[in-house]
């Protein structure tokens, strides 16, 4: 037992001496939380639209004033011929063009019907769709305004309630995702180099000829990263609560227990990589470049999982971050108890045992 502590202390020294890595390890979540909380939004704002008003009558001007008042776009008003639209799009600044035909107001007032053309730059479908939705809403609003007779005598009014997120905080969804992503990458990458580094530098031999049990080498490698990752997790939580004003609705102990479990899963995965690769470079490339995008995608916090092809939905079942994301979302944001997440917890435990098993099996106590 005393031996184990000595070795754990040695590993801690390794970790604490590398100040820069430590700094990054704790700086990463800070930056991510700030970005996700304040800079990134799935809404569309300040998109530039170009309005080409060939009518210049009361109706078109009223409608344009309404569009200008909206905070979603910045409006540019230069008449443009249909052939020049493509040229504008190619320059890339204008996202959408609204064209009023020459006798817009006249048609509207006399025929009760007028044409309006919206051309969107579809190379960014998300923006294009959102812009068209916004514009349509503004136009139909205007219609109501000019012909109030169009209101219906019998109405069903939907009353919408936003559960768990009354203020419509856009970053709420990202927080559990960022947690899963950072823990996954940081734990896996750090652990994955720890053994391979000893192999590469030749110090592994010294460890293996000592009377110290080889399995304990693995354990002593994992413990410091477990502690660090928990500290990291605490930092993210504090940031989420104080910087982003996210309320932790569930039991905080449960949150920590589940996170510890997830960290152990990542550590096992890191050990597995470490045991099967022969150079730090390969281990790092595998654990960072190989894991970053898949973790981001299969967790389901950026892209809805149900949109993916069936095979990916099947693959996503073996990605531990996915289960952790569900657990954190339920416990932290919805305030649910263990009764709701026991299934996901069991799956995580299962994945951990399998990973650890393979890692131990691949741990060679003889040098080749």
């Amino acid at each position: 037992m005393k031996q184990l502590f000595v070795f754990i202390r040695k590993e801690f020294y390794h970790v604490f001496r590398d100040k820069r890595t430590l700094l990054i390890m704790f700086g990463l979540p800070v930056v991510q939380i700030v970005l996700f909380g304040f800079a990134l939004t799935s809404e569309v704002k300040n998109a530039q639209i170009l309005i080409s008003d060939n009518a210049k009558d009361i109706n078109s001007e009223q409608l344009i004033a309404k569009m200008k008042a909206s905070t979603y776009f910045t409006v540019d008003e230069t008449p443009i011929s249909n052939n020049d639209i493509e040229k504008e799009f190619r320059k890339g600044n204008i996202k959408c063009v609204v064209v009023f035909p020459a006798n817009f107001g006249n048609d509207l007032q006399h025929n009760g019907k007028a044409q309006l053309q919206i051309v969107a730059d579809g190379s960014d479908p998300n923006t294009a769709k959102t812009m068209i939705n916004y514009l349509t809403a503004i136009i139909s609003d205007y219609q109501q305004q000019i012909s109030p007779a169009a209101t219906l005598p019998y109405l069903i009014i939907p009353e919408t309630r936003m559960l768990y997120n009354e203020e419509g905080n856009g970053s709420l969804n990202f927080i559990p995702g960022v947690m899963a992503l950072i823990l996954m990458i940081v734990c896996t990458a750090l652990t994955s180099v720890s053994i391979v580094k000893e192999k590469e530098l030749g110090t592994m031999e010294i460890l293996l000829v000592s009377p110290f049990k080889p399995v304990l080498v693995l354990i002593s490698k994992a413990v410091p990263y477990l502690v660090l990752s928990l500290a990291n997790f605490t930092l993210i939580l504090i940031l989420a609560v104080f910087a982003l004003h996210v309320e932790i609705k569930g039991n905080i102990f449960l949150l920590f227990a589940e996170s510890t479990l997830f960290i152990i899963t990542c550590l096992s995965f890191g050990l597995l990589i470490s045991n099967t690769t022969s150079s730090q470079q390969t281990a790092l490339l595998l654990s960072m470049m190989g894991m970053m995008l898949p973790t981001m995608i299969f967790t389901g916090f950026m892209f809805p999982l149900e949109n993916m092809p069936l095979i990916f939905r099947i693959i996503s079942h073996v990605v531990p971050a996915r289960w952790y994301y569900i657990i954190i979302k339920s416990v932290m944001l919805k305030g649910l108890g263990f009764g709701y997440v026991w299934k996901e917890t069991l799956i995580l435990i299962g994945i951990t045992i399998i990973l650890l098993g393979i890692a131990l099996k691949n741990f060679k106590i003889r040098l080749s």
Partner: protein, 374 residues
């Protein structure tokens, strides 16, 4: 020049000896490029809906069947009570609960107005917003088609059709498919990861293993050394880029509308900038882990700020400034413009200037920062 030739020979030999890394360099981006865009679909479809119908009248039935046939919603359950339906939201099987109160039809006919309750799981903001607004649209449509409304309004014409007829068109991508937007950007991202990580690991590896001392005692000039490190990765990057374009064409059917040589010109300058950045990190770090983490840190920022997932326009001003300072933003923008819209050099000359600046600054910094004395 001859000295540079020797360094290149050494570097290439080193690269070709490590088969696992060589395979990783080509296979990983190709595979990821094939897989990743398939998973990136922002479209909100199949919103799971739970219905609590306390009324069971003909109107409520009609409303439900109208929602069911709208194509956006999948009605997964009809529950007896709200709390039962809420459980479905809690365990994640349902996204939206619609509660129709008792005497819904009676009130509607008598009072002319009737509320129904909709509760949305708002943790996923986008889905909640879109789900809620789809539901509102369907209900508004249902309103205008209600029999009593049509009966009470014999003229009827103005309510059923809008006076302003809007025609939409989505140029460059008529069906609004995400792959056109995502695939070129993912290609840039993968190229960035390969180039950035490999370059970041390279010099520091020599430092860690100790072989850098052998180079330091030779008359190799600083710029020769950096250039010697840069050229092999630059070639690899160009090959990866070509492979990526091939994948775009064969797997996704995306054929660049614009000029291919313009695309390569940008790729060439971008790679120089990017590799310079990686080498710069490498000259600053003492160990591979350190270098990798610094690279990862920046890679994360690049990825999130580049407009790959969310548009740059929607960011606040300070974030847009940061976004402009990352080379990835410019290359992704150019890729999308050239590949999808066929922009010419005149349209993208500003981006070109940006990239050239990045390339010059980062590489001269890397050369300056590389010390032959420890």
């Amino acid at each position: 020049m001859r000295v540079l030739g020797f360094i290149l020979q050494k570097e290439f030999r080193q690269i070709f000896r490590d088969k696992s890394i060589l395979a990783m360099m080509f296979v990983m981006p190709t595979v990821q490029l094939i897989i990743v865009p398939l998973a990136m679909d922002f479209d909100v479809k199949n919103i799971n809906l739970s219905i609590v119908d306390h009324d069971h009248s003909s109107y409520s039935q009609k409303l439900i069947s109208k929602i069911g046939s709208s194509g956006y919603f999948r009605i997964i359950s009809a529950d007896g009570s709200y709390s039962e339906a809420l459980k479905k939201i809690e365990n994640g099987t349902s996204d939206v609960v619609m509660e129709i109160p008792s005497s819904f039809e009676e009130n509607l006919v008598r009072e002319g107005i009737q509320k129904i309750g909709i509760s949305v799981d708002a943790i996923n903001g986008t889905k909640a917003m879109i789900g809620g607004s789809y539901l509102n649209t369907v209900i508004a449509d249902f309103n205008s088609n209600l029999e009593i409304n049509i009966k009470n309004n014999p003229t009827g014409s103005s309510t059923n059709q809008s006076a302003i007829d809007i025609t939409y068109s989505n140029w460059f991508n008529p069906h609004g498919e995400y792959k056109y937007n995502i695939v070129p950007a993912v290609l840039v991202l993968l190229l960035t990861m390969i180039g950035g990580f490999l370059a970041a690991l390279n010099i520091v590896r020599e430092k860690e293993v100790g072989t850098i001392e052998q180079i330091n005692v030779t008359p190799i000039k600083k710029w020769q050394f950096i250039l010697g490190k840069l050229i092999p990765f630059w070639l690899i990057g160009i090959i990866v880029f070509s492979l990526g374009l091939l994948v775009c064409r064969l797997v996704y059917g995306i054929i660049p509308v614009g000029n291919i040589s313009l695309l390569y010109l940008f790729a060439a300058v971008y790679l120089v900038a990017l590799l310079g950045f990686g080498l710069l990190i490498s000259t600053f770090s003492n160990s591979q882990v350190q270098s990798m983490f610094v690279a990862f840190f920046f890679m994360m920022i690049f990825m999130l700020m580049s407009g790959l997932f969310t548009t740059v326009d929607s960011m606040p001003a300070w974030a847009r400034a940061i976004s402009d300072l990352t080379p990835v933003t410019h290359f992704i923008r150019v890729m999308r413009m050239i590949v999808l819209k066929g922009s010419g050099f005149a349209d993208v000359k500003m981006e070109f200037a940006y990239l050239v600046c990045f390339a010059l600054i980062l590489n001269s910094w890397a050369i300056w920062n590389y010390r032959k004395t420890s």
